[in-house]
């Protein structure tokens, strides 16, 4: 078995962060955490995760801007970003894809579906 997939989870909501990270770790992923967009791009550049799960409504730097910056940097441009948002209204999906996200999931997350999307964007089954 190959090395565990490294996931960077960017989420400002403490409980959501705890819950999702624990569930991911239980499935054998290595989970890195960031609480805002700025932390996210720094961590991504330093730790080189395999995939980023990005909440879009973030403090300091929002998810769209963070994704845009990640796409512009040579060190992070290849890391796929999966957008997570609780916003059901409007054109969130379009905006996320425009910013350079590889996929889009609406909260509450369907966990099994999310695992499928992770496998799809990384090309690896955990």
């Amino acid at each position: 078995m190959s090395e565990a997939l490294k996931i960077l989870l960017v989420e400002d909501h403490e409980l959501n962060r705890d819950m999702l990270s624990r569930r991911l770790m239980k499935r054998g992923f290595t989970v890195l955490l960031a609480e805002d967009g700025q932390q996210a791009i720094i961590t991504a550049a330093q730790q080189q995760p395999d995939v980023i799960l990005m909440d879009m409504s973030l403090p300091v730097l929002d998810g769209w801007e963070a994704t845009r910056l990640l796409r512009q940097s040579a060190r992070t441009e290849k890391i796929p970003v999966i957008a997570l948002t609780a916003h059901a209204l409007g054109n969130e999906q379009e905006r996320a894809l425009e910013a350079g996200c590889a996929a889009f999931e609406t909260k509450p997350v369907d966990f099994e579906k999310l695992l499928g999307v992770i496998a799809q964007v990384t090309g690896r089954e955990q």
């Binding site: 916003h87 509450p108 997350v109």
Partner: protein
């Protein structure tokens, strides 16, 4: 705020002051202009007088010269200029007289000049007569008497005096004229400024109102979006932890915990659906749901829906039949919204029916001079009691007794039918129900094949590549605000005979403005700012026609018309609906 005909009093004040300034300004300009004209006329008349007097003088000198020549030489040829002068003189004098009459200031002087001229001419004439008779000595005496020279000197003196006066008054005139011109120019500038200020004020007022409306709509939208976010975030946490705990309970074989955790998850998920539907409903009610029409093949849409409903139907061992009538063809409407409505109806049918049949029947019909597609969903379920029918399309009105026992409460939110009805109305149609207790129910979505312009927002229209036309067929008629007096008059006349014993009820936030306009058209009005007040006024006044603004506080215009239609006395009253142009418009009963 203090109001007058629907406008704040300070604005009315500005308008009045502006109008007054304009009136005074134009009046002053007119008077000034008239005076300037008089001044220049006077100047030109005086100039004419001077010219005439000079002509007169020349005539007299020529006459005198002729007379002197004749006196010296007795050559008759010298008399030609004299005779000319004698002939011209009365004409010139007459002209001078005429000019003098028009100029009181110089009248006396001109008369004096005339008198002197006649005297001089008389002297010339007498001398010539004496000569002709051969009395040379008498003629010479007369000429030498100096009488003629004195007269001539007097004449020249008078003329110089008059010329001087004319010169002075010309200067005065031109100064006066200049002053008048300056005054006119200043007044014109002031008038233009007043006019400009008026336009600016009016423009700002209109812009402010538009901005306020846009702002309100934006705030509503932002509120809905943040509501959605705030409600979903904690739910996300609850569902996530419940799922996580379930996994752990499963691993540890704690079956009792598993059941409880499943209940938590399922309740949370139900709440999520509920939140989604409430938001959907409020989005429709707030006019924020954009209808985006496209052209599509009805059969394809039906096939898609069938695929989604089949597993639902099978859950309670129901059969699903689809009957697609011939010629269903294409529709120009919002396919997503139609699918949503159809899914609501069919999943309802599947929920309330067990071991029965669910039939989806699609047909194209011609009704009320329009092309319609009817989507009828028939079930063999318990049917709906008559008492419950009235509340059927209200939010949260799910009929408890008819819920099949085996279906858990979390299956339905009680909002599906309310949303479906609103969606159908949004598309210019409606949902109707036929039911028999113990036999089943048929819910039919009746939708126009081509969605009416005006039922959807300008944004939707842009996306569909169509232009906005005047919206027919809503209530009695839907008008886009701002509405002109003429359009208002025409619309009212179309639906009401104008019985002078009846009044028009105007309901809505801008009722006083609209009522003012209707009042100007010569009809009597009763106003109500809110829907509830409108219903009270309707009962008290029995109006011949109702004008309802969709935008109003409290009960909205849509609800007001619905409530009105529920009254026995309000079922047939014609209703003209006003809506903000460019806004998503909602259909009316």
């Amino acid at each position: 705020m203090l109001q007058w005909r629907g406008r704040p009093v300070d604005e009315v004040g500005y308008v009045l002051i502006g109008a007054l300034a304009l009136m005074l300004g134009t009046g002053a300009i007119y008077l000034n202009w008239q005076q300037a004209q008089r001044t220049s006329l006077q100047a030109s008349q005086t100039r004419q007088s001077v010219g005439t007097i000079r002509q007169l003088l020349v005539m007299l000198y020529r006459g005198e010269a002729g007379q002197r020549g004749f006196l010296l030489t007795e050559e008759k040829g010298y008399l030609v200029p004299y005779e000319e002068a004698a002939e011209q003189l009365p004409k010139i004098l007459e002209r001078l007289n005429l000019l003098a009459q028009q100029q009181p200031a110089v009248r006396e002087r001109v008369r004096e000049i005339g008198r002197l001229a006649r005297a001089k001419m008389g002297e010339l004439q007498t001398a010539v007569e004496l000569l002709k008779e051969g009395d040379l000595a008498a003629a010479e005496l007369l000429v030498r008497s100096n009488f003629g020279k004195q007269t001539m000197d007097q004449l020249v003196g008078k003329l110089t005096e008059l010329e001087k006066r004319v010169f002075v008054s010309e200067e005065e005139f031109s100064a006066e004229l200049q002053e008048q011109m300056r005054r006119s120019a200043a007044l014109t500038v002031i008038c233009c400024l007043a006019l400009f200020a008026l336009f600016a004020i009016e423009n700002r007022r209109v812009t402010n109102r538009k901005l306020a409306a846009e702002k309100a709509s934006e705030v509503k939208g932002a509120f809905l979006a943040s509501m959605s976010h705030e409600l979903r975030t904690p739910l996300n946490v609850i569902i996530g932890y419940a799922q996580m705990q379930q996994e752990e309970a499963e691993e540890a074989s704690r079956a009792g915990d598993l059941v409880d955790l499943k209940r938590i998850e399922s309740a949370a998920k139900h709440l999520l659906v509920l939140i989604n539907e409430v938001l959907e409903l409020s989005k429709i009610e707030a006019g924020r749901l954009d209808v985006i029409p496209t052209e599509f093949v009805v059969e394809e849409l039906v096939r898609e829906v069938t695929g989604l409903v089949e597993p639902l139907a099978k859950r309670q061992e129901n059969g699903l039949t689809v009957e697609l009538g011939p010629g269903a063809g294409r529709m120009f409407s919002d396919a997503t919204r139609i699918k949503q409505g159809l899914l609501n109806l069919t999943s309802n049918a599947a929920k309330f029916t067990a071991k029965g049949t669910i039939t989806l029947r699609v047909s194209r019909v011609w009704r009320q001079n329009r092309d319609w597609i009817d989507f009828a969903v028939t079930d063999t379920g318990p049917g709906i009691r008559k008492d419950d029918l009235a509340r059927l399309f209200e939010p949260f009105s799910q009929v408890d007794e008819q819920r099949p026992k085996q279906v858990g409460r979390q299956e339905g939110t009680g909002l599906g039918l309310a949303i479906t009805r609103r969606l159908c109305r949004l598309l210019g149609g409606d949902v109707v129900v036929e039911t028999a207790v113990g036999k089943g129910s048929t819910f039919t979505m009746q939708l126009p094949v081509e969605v009416t312009p005006g039922y959807f927002s300008s944004k939707g229209l842009e996306q569909a590549g169509r232009s906005l036309a005047v919206a027919p067929g809503v209530g009695e008629e839907m008008l886009m605000k701002p509405v002109s007096d003429e359009i208002l008059r025409a619309a009212i006349s179309r639906h009401w005979a104008g019985d002078p014993s009846e009044v028009i009820l105007v309901v809505g936030g801008e009722s006083s403005t609209v009522a003012g306009a209707i009042g100007r058209l010569g009809w009597r009005t009763v106003e109500a700012a809110e829907g509830l007040d409108g219903l009270v006024q309707f009962g008290a006044e029995r109006p011949g026609l109702v004008v309802a603004d969709l935008e109003m506080v409290g009960m909205d215009g849509l609800e007001f018309v619905r409530q009105l239609r529920l009254r026995t006395d309000g079922r047939t009253v014609p209703v003209v609906v006003l809506s903000e142009a460019g806004k998503t418009n909602r259909g009316i009963v």
